[in-house]
């Protein structure tokens, strides 16, 4: 890459103080990741409509561009040129800032996601805690939107969403406790490395109940079907974003899909080995043209993220919406006991030196 840049710029670059160099470099990578995620969101909406379309015996969007690939951009353009209506009796400041509060945490969490064994924006020790903290902050957008709108429908949606997210966060946190017990670290890169050595070492097998709890809690946390009572259109019109129009609505949409991709990425990293290869340690590939398949790379992570995003849409096309009390029962009375029991099982297995956690004891 170096030869692409004129010598003059390289010379000027070396003259910068190290702090400025660091700032410019980090900002550049933040922009790269953010823009990639936002483009990913655009195509995720297209992907969702195609997947659900085919599952329901339709074709899905196919008019704009080849195979309908221009559809997301047409939608964005439409949203951009529409009027943003602010209800007269609403709380103007909170009404405008609420969509940002859902979007920003969803994008900021990508800072600690290890994309490959060499690239992560912020390689911090408390990565998992940071992820938990930011996902829990995301609920403010929904609650404030519902309250600031000053509409009963929006308010009901916000209340439902708040109670639901608080309930599922606990199960989610407990599922993460299992992961960090197995890996012995809060750093997402170290967690990925701890799953090295082939598919059987991935946490998805020894932590299978926690994997299911985490992913389903993730679906609930993103307010997706079948847990989307916050916007249950059959009862409360559109829930918390009933009065949002134009680009303000688009920001909510962006935040929701960014969260879907994020939960998919985290599930891949915590349970499916992140950027590690499916074929790691396959001696059959030794010396052949395909030996690059065994290397860890960004491609594997993207593949796993795409799979989990697909599962999100699959679930949406398959299951009817939960009743609200059933959601609460599932969160408090099923998931939390399951996670607590499995953490106990894990601790006993580590203590008895059984299974992949033998190194934890002592």
């Amino acid at each position: 890459m170096e030869w692409l840049i004129p010598q003059f710029f390289l010379g000027a670059w070396d003259q910068f103080p190290p702090l400025l160099q660091y700032l410019i470099e980090t900002t550049f990578w933040i922009l790269v990741v953010t823009i990639t995620v936002i483009l990913g969101v655009a195509f995720t909406t297209y992907f969702e409509r195609k997947v659900i379309g085919y599952m329901q015996g339709r074709i899905g969007p196919n008019r704009v561009g080849p195979k309908g690939l221009g559809q997301p951009f047409a939608d964005v353009l439409k949203m951009l040129i529409k009027e943003v209506v602010v209800p007269a009796k609403s709380n103007r400041f909170l009404f405008v800032i609420a969509p940002l509060l859902t979007l920003v945490p969803a994008l900021a969490t990508w800072a600690v996601v290890p994309f490959s064994n060499t690239f992560v924006i912020a390689d911090i020790n408390a990565g998992l805690l940071y992820v938990l903290a930011l996902t829990s902050v995301g609920v403010y957008g929904v609650i404030l939107a519902g309250w600031a709108t000053n509409s009963k429908y929006a308010f009901l949606g916000a209340m439902r969403s708040a109670a639901q997210i608080v309930a599922y966060e606990i199960a989610m946190g407990f599922a993460l406790v299992g992961v960090l017990m197995a890996s012995g670290s809060l750093n997402l890169g170290v967690i990925t490395e701890a799953q090295g050595g082939g598919v059987t070492n991935w946490f998805v097998l020894p932590l299978l109940p926690l994997f299911f709890v985490y992913f389903i809690a993730g679906v609930a946390e993103t307010n997706r079907a079948p847990f989307d009572v916050a916007e249950g259109e059959s009862e409360i019109v559109a829930g918390f974003h009933v009065e949002y129009s134009g680009i303000a609505f688009a920001l909510f949409f962006l935040g929701e899909y960014a969260n879907i991709i994020l939960i998919s990425a985290l599930t891949s990293i915590l349970f499916m080995g992140g950027y590690l290869s499916f074929f790691e340690g396959w001696t059959i590939l030794e010396g052949t043209m395909l030996s690059f398949l065994r290397e860890p790379s960004l491609g594997w992570l993207v593949l796993k993220i795409c799979f989990f995003v697909y599962v999100f849409f699959w679930i949406r096309a398959t299951f009817p919406r939960y009743r609200y009390d059933q959601i609460m029962r599932l969160g408090w009375k099923v998931f939390i006991p399951v996670t607590i029991v499995w953490i106990g099982v894990e601790a006993v297995m580590a203590w008895m030196q059984v299974g992949p956690w033998t190194n934890l004891y002592g």
Partner: protein, 203 residues
């Protein structure tokens, strides 16, 4: 230098947010100011390299406690006008509490200064020092009994809170989840075969 600049920026926003909590008319705004105050104190802790405490502050207080606060404040239909009673009513009590806290803080600082002289900047931790590990190592060895007693007390509080809300009132309708799950299609819908009636007979 940068540290000092950032420290003062965060500290000023923190104090401003704390003042906002008291002076905002709208209770929801007050809660949001409190959230901002928590964030700023988390940032200050991050600058002091206490990343575990900082992130846990955001996770527990901003992510859970304040959400429930907001939940309650939004549900209460507080009339904004009636809240604006003169602040002077609570002034003596407020000054007393604030004075007590200032005295306590000064005592700690005084005590600390005797042990090691204060410096103008945050102390630097060695490379590779993990706050979380250090905290865990102390918590599970030296202070394990205190830690477990605290855990038991919290568990007790949870059980007490649940039993307080689980009272049975007469006439309260509740779902029997086991029966709902075990229900079969034939319990809900009964298909009846009837002989077709001719329409002439009706008239």
């Amino acid at each position: 230098m940068f540290q000092a600049i950032f420290f003062y920026i965060f500290a000023v926003i923190l104090i401003g947010a704390a003042v906002g909590v008291i002076f905002s008319r709208n209770p929801v705004h007050a809660v949001m100011f409190l959230v901002l105050a928590f964030f700023q104190s988390a940032l200050l802790w991050l600058m002091a390299e206490a990343e575990f405490l900082a992130i846990v502050l955001v996770l527990v207080y901003v992510g859970a406690v304040m959400v429930l606060f907001l939940f309650v404040v939004m549900m209460l239909d507080i009339n904004v006008e009636s809240v604006s009673v003169p602040y002077t009513r609570y002034l003596p009590l407020g000054i007393m509490v604030a004075g007590l806290m200032v005295v306590e803080l000064l005592m700690i600082i005084w005590n600390r200064q005797a042990a090691e002289p204060l410096t103008g900047s945050f102390s630097r931790m060695p490379e590779g020092y993990s706050n979380t590990e250090a905290l865990g190592a102390v918590l599970y060895t030296e202070h394990v009994y205190a830690f477990e007693i605290a855990a038991v007390i919290l568990l007790l509080a949870i059980i007490a809170a649940i039993t307080l809300t689980m009272r049975k009132r007469p006439g309260l309708k509740q779902q029997n989840i086991a029966r709902q799950v075990a229900v079969q299609a034939k319990d809900r819908v009964r298909l009846v075969k009837m002989a077709a009636e001719s329409s002439e007979k009706d008239q």
